[in-house]
Amino acid sequence: MSDDTVRTVERFDRLTAETSEGAQELLRRDVTKAPEIGREVGSVLRVDGHSFDPNSVDYERRDDETMIINMGPSHPSTHGVLRLMLELDGEFVLRTKPVIGYLHTGMEKTGEELSYVQGATNVTRMDYLSPVINELCYSMAVEKLLGIDVPERAIWIRMMMSELNRMSSHLVWMATNGMDLGSTSMMIYGLRERELILAFFEKTAGLRLNLNYVRPGGVAADLPDGWQDDVLVICDTIYERTFEYDQLLTGQPIFRQRLIGVAPMTAEEALALCVTGPLLRSTGVPWDLRRTMPYLAYDQVEFDVIVGTYGDNFDRYAIRLNEIRESIRIVRQCIDMMPTGDYRSQDPKVTPPPRARIGESMEALIHHFKLFTEGFHVPAGEVYMAVESPRGELGCYLVADGGPKPYRMHTRAPSFVNLQAVPLLMRGGMVSDAITVISTVDPVMGEVDR
């Protein structure tokens, strides 16, 4: 019998030592510095003078009165591998520290080793619930450096696919949020509706997730014949069903009691923590990049930016539910206003020759081969491109050095930054509210750890 299968005290000690994250973990109070405790209790506003001194927080507490417990990394409600360390006083949360990195696969490093053509397949795996928007951000950054224009139809296709993706992402959120709060029927309904959108993605791009559909220069394929009917059915079905969600959840007394007034956040705190997306809008700040810094053709469609008031869990829920309806509104306008023309740039620098030309022209064959082996060269420069993802501002900082691969590809992941609001939101709440906080902050761990 090997040493690893025997249950001994030494083995537990060794496992603890091997799985420890050292100083990344939440430590006992007597070995933690005051500024760090201040951050772990979420005192973000101390710099402005109208908040508490980190030293005065719970000064009467001692380590033998409180308990530090792990939640995660493999907890069903942590949406992946988020590990939260909570310091508890009975049922109440005093300090919180997210320990992340369990899903870190070095995607930014990988991005430096893939050519610009291949890069979209990498970024699409970061936020796996909104792949189209990841690709869009990356592609727009590359196009900015290249200085090429995208045809009008490609812009509108991108916008429509982004909004469909936003709907599917929010539907998954509705589903998992329902699951976290005990409404298992919502889990089934949310994923059922999302399936409609994924089926359309499969029809268009060939894949359900990780589409690699938006690429530098345009999109991978034109919309399939009869797409208007498919998209109309999606819009009609989901729009009707959002009102069923209202009946199922919004008016449900237990659901309301678990959300209303729980874990509120003010606008100052949200701005100080640099959180974006529904978290920021729930505090009453009307900031949506689609409206405030329009990209694609968002300045040509009508939609409302949904804004909350109290910044509590219910506001974040209501914002996401209503954003599904606004996305449906945008998609309907896309169907009506979709221009004709090319679906990708005809600049031969980024676009391969048509399939028919490859069979008859040697130059076209060489061109196609070069484009997919070496890739195209991007002039030296740097750019930060930001788009509104379902979770907030998704940014791509790209440094090009004139070669066929990015010199540096950094993704500003909204979940990574939004996760910093968790200690603030959880402080003083119950452990059961911790579940709702994780749920309404909506981190996607693929994007947090990258």
Binding site: D4, E18, T19, S20, E21, G22, A23, Q24, K33, P35, E36, G38, R39, V44, L45, V47, I100, G101, H104, G106, E108, K109, E113, K144, L145, L271, A272, L273, C274, V275, T276, V285, W287, T292, M293, A380, G381, E382, V383, Y384, M385, A386, E393, G395, Y397, V399, D401, Y407, R408, H410, R412, F416, V417, L419, Q420, D449, R450
Partner: protein, 164 residues
């Protein structure tokens, strides 16, 4: 292109940039004061902070007068009220890159600075908890540096023996 606020430290070099209204190149000494002047000038949010390792491009194109160093810290600031973006590129140093932490100005930079420390080894003075965030605690080296050979370490798990 917008002008620097009068409270900014004198002598900061600026240029135009893609997708931003201004790009500034402060020295390490000017960096904190410059970002503070932007914060006072209604740039409410620090949306992004990341490191860049210019090991292979020591003579990259920068405005006249900027002392090029190997590491750069790039900060993207956002003004919600003015709808403007500003990029700050500070030359962080060669061997022991170190800049001031922006934590007291923008508490939200805490995780981003930890990430830059973890992946590039850039030190941030006065950061409350400068530990690794994405890599395991006992990891050696900073993986996004250009002289860090990816593939140097075979894929392995903690149980597996062997040198790291």
């Amino acid at each position: 292109m917008i002008a620097l606020s009068p409270s900014a430290p004198p002598g900061v070099l600026t240029s135009e940039a893609h997708c931003a209204d201004l790009c500034c190149y402060p020295t390490r000494g000017q960096y904190f004061a410059l970002v503070a002047s932007f914060k006072a000038d209604d740039f409410e949010m620090c949306v992004d902070l990341c490191g860049v390792d210019y090991l292979e491009h020591p003579d990259r194109a920068l405005p006249q007068g900027v002392m090029r160093t190997r590491f750069e810290v790039v900060v993207n600031l956002l003004s919600l009220s003015k709808r403007q973006r500003v990029r700050v590129r500070v030359q962080a140093g060669d061997d022991e890159p170190e800049v001031d932490s922006l934590f007291v100005l923008f508490p939200g930079t805490e995780a981003m600075e930890r990430e830059a420390f973890d992946l590039y080894g850039v030190l941030f003075t006065n950061h409350p908890d400068l530990t690794r965030i994405l890599m395991p605690e006992e990891w050696e080296g900073h993986p996004l540096r250009k002289d860090y050979g990816s593939g140097r370490v075979p894929v392995q798990f903690k149980e597996a023996p062997g040198p790291r």
